[in-house]
Symmetry: C2
Subunit: 343 residues, 2 copies
């Protein structure tokens, strides 16, 4: 098919070794030959074959990314951050959407391994033993982002969900709320489900507030489960003045359902989100939310990966990202909201 280094060598009347050295900016050739070769490259329109390079060299300048789903504001923002950092270092990204399916993850890891990626970034769900083993057997480094492995010692970059949820809850309490509903992820999800729930409960406890079990619902972080969760809250007939949903998507779900039920935020009750994706900004009303620096997390994940790659002797270093609650319009002080089922 294409022009190879041999063609260039022949055209310039030098050996392929010389061409290679020039292309790679090494030393060992004169200025005149360099110009000659450069000219030939230009004339022929040569561009090196990265596959061949990858075969002999040790690297493919490629990193594999595993995400549960690609659509959605969180994943895509994360991916964008990774791509930005990767391109800066001349790496390309293989992206796989695992759909949270065990066997798909396995298959993807296998494929990425065969494709000889220089590293992998795992941003999917909790990993099984089989997956963990597969990852450990990889020659190249693996880093986790926005999740972590409790059973395998992979470095991660993420925010501290427990504390973030704690702070979010405390914010609500500081605003005067006491009857707080909670819509979280499944407790089986030890990373983002249980921790956020624990943070919520601890904050309530620390402020000597009771959590009303009828006002906690466990969803899956997606929009529909936010709607469903809010429906359940209403069905309980319990009074609350605020709901803390541990993802913006779910928070928007409650906004949406509230609208359908003729309830108004923040006049009737308040809602606090989590993530600070674009959904929070675009919501009506704009969501007050616990913010994760998603873009930055993506970037950090690749730089962490790359630094491990160069410096394989350093011990595993995790990166904890900062969270903060960004105030918009969906939460107001207790006095300014009616509360649901309160009279």
């Amino acid at each position: 098919m294409g022009i190879t280094i041999k063609d260039v060598a022949k055209h310039a009347g030098v050996s392929i070794a010389t061409v290679s050295r020039i292309v790679n900016g090494q030393t060992g050739y004169g200025e005149k030959t360099k110009q000659l070769v450069l000219k030939s490259i230009e004339d022929l329109g040569y561009s090196p074959n990265a596959i061949a390079r990858g075969l002999v060299g040790r690297e493919t300048r490629t990193i594999g990314v595993l995400l549960p789903k690609l659509s959605g504001l969180f994943a895509s923002k994360l991916l964008q951050g990774m791509e930005t950092a990767a391109r800066q270092e001349n790496y390309s990204l293989f992206v796989c959407h695992t759909d949270s399916k065990e066997e798909r993850v396995i298959q993807d890891i296998q494929v990425l391994k065969e494709k000889q990626v220089d590293g992998m970034i795992y941003a999917s769900d909790q990993l099984s033993e089989a997956q963990g083993q597969l990852l450990e057997d990889m020659a190249s480094p693996v880093v986790f982002v926005s999740t972590q492995s409790l059973t395998h010692p992979f470095p991660y970059v993420k925010v501290d969900d427990y504390n973030a949820a704690y702070d979010g809850t405390s914010y609500l309490i500081k605003m005067g709320h006491e009857d707080i509903a909670f819509i979280g992820g499944d407790l089986d999800d030890l990373i983002a489900g249980k921790t956020r729930n624990d943070g919520f409960r601890k904050a309530m406890c620390d402020h000597e507030l009771r959590v009303n079990e009828k006002l906690v619902y466990y969803g899956d972080f997606r929009f529909p489960s936010g709607k469903e969760g809010f429906r359940q809250l209403l069905a309980s007939k319990e009074v609350f003045t605020a709901v803390f949903a541990t993802s913006d998507e779910m928070a928007v779900g409650v906004l949406s359902e509230a609208y359908e039920q003729g309830l108004s935020v923040p006049d009737d009750f308040c809602v606090l989100g989590y993530d600070n994706t674009m959904a929070a900004e675009m919501a009506v009303p704009p969501l007050t939310t616990v913010s994760q620096p998603i873009d930055e997390m993506g970037k950090r994940a690749v730089s962490l990966l790359l630094s491990i790659r160069e410096n394989t002797k350093t011990p595993v270093r995790n990166i904890d990202m900062e969270h903060e609650v960004v105030e918009r319009k969906s939460v107001v002080i207790r006095e300014n909201t009616k509360g649901v089922f309160s009279r």
Copy 2:
């Protein structure tokens, strides 16, 4: 580093050719040797090196994707569709986010070429002459999705923006609206900007309605430009009962700005979106919108690409996708909305 085919061959006491044949499910070996080799593979934990395969074979089972940005509901949904279809055929995706920067596109194409992708999917902005030339020089096929090239004959898969906008507008008119504001993309964007605007105008004209130039605004399809556009609309003091925003993001922008201005949709005016991303579903109120089958478009793009690859003799075949207006809550009949600045 890893176990190679040679190791397997040695371990099984056969030649590498035999191992290769077995691994690739070809013929030319006996059942006993097969079992022997399979056992060795299992024992050693061998997995083929796709890079080496790519070097000798003609294919890398890899396709490159160019998107202007990765975050955002449209792009990510599209990407998800592509990934789904690609994985089904055992292809992996290199994803590049060009940020709509000319030179980045050029660089990305170059990289993808060096990485020997089997094909490319272009979903970025209008391409320049230089980019077009680069793409034409590629040995592997290129398909456009959700965009097209007016100057280069690349096959595309997209909806007919002109007709979709025409139908969207007609829907509004059918609902009794006459004073319709329009928030579109820049007219310099010949693909999604101008065409949708043209469709809008034609529909108005065909129904003998005048388009009020003070009520048309050109944004960039993003959320902030929807907000800004709506502010401009209000500033004009002209009366309108509906606004057609040619992206859901912009439509949500008007919803958001309307909320801030104390206006209510659809009580005060209606808004029609475009795309049918998740934003439309999640909006308050849920957006009535002109729907594109985004996921399906992504899938079709890769199957088109792959079919071209196998069958390089067939002429360029474009794929036109169906659009439809999906009714939700943001548009009601003229009688049920007050209209802005009307008394």
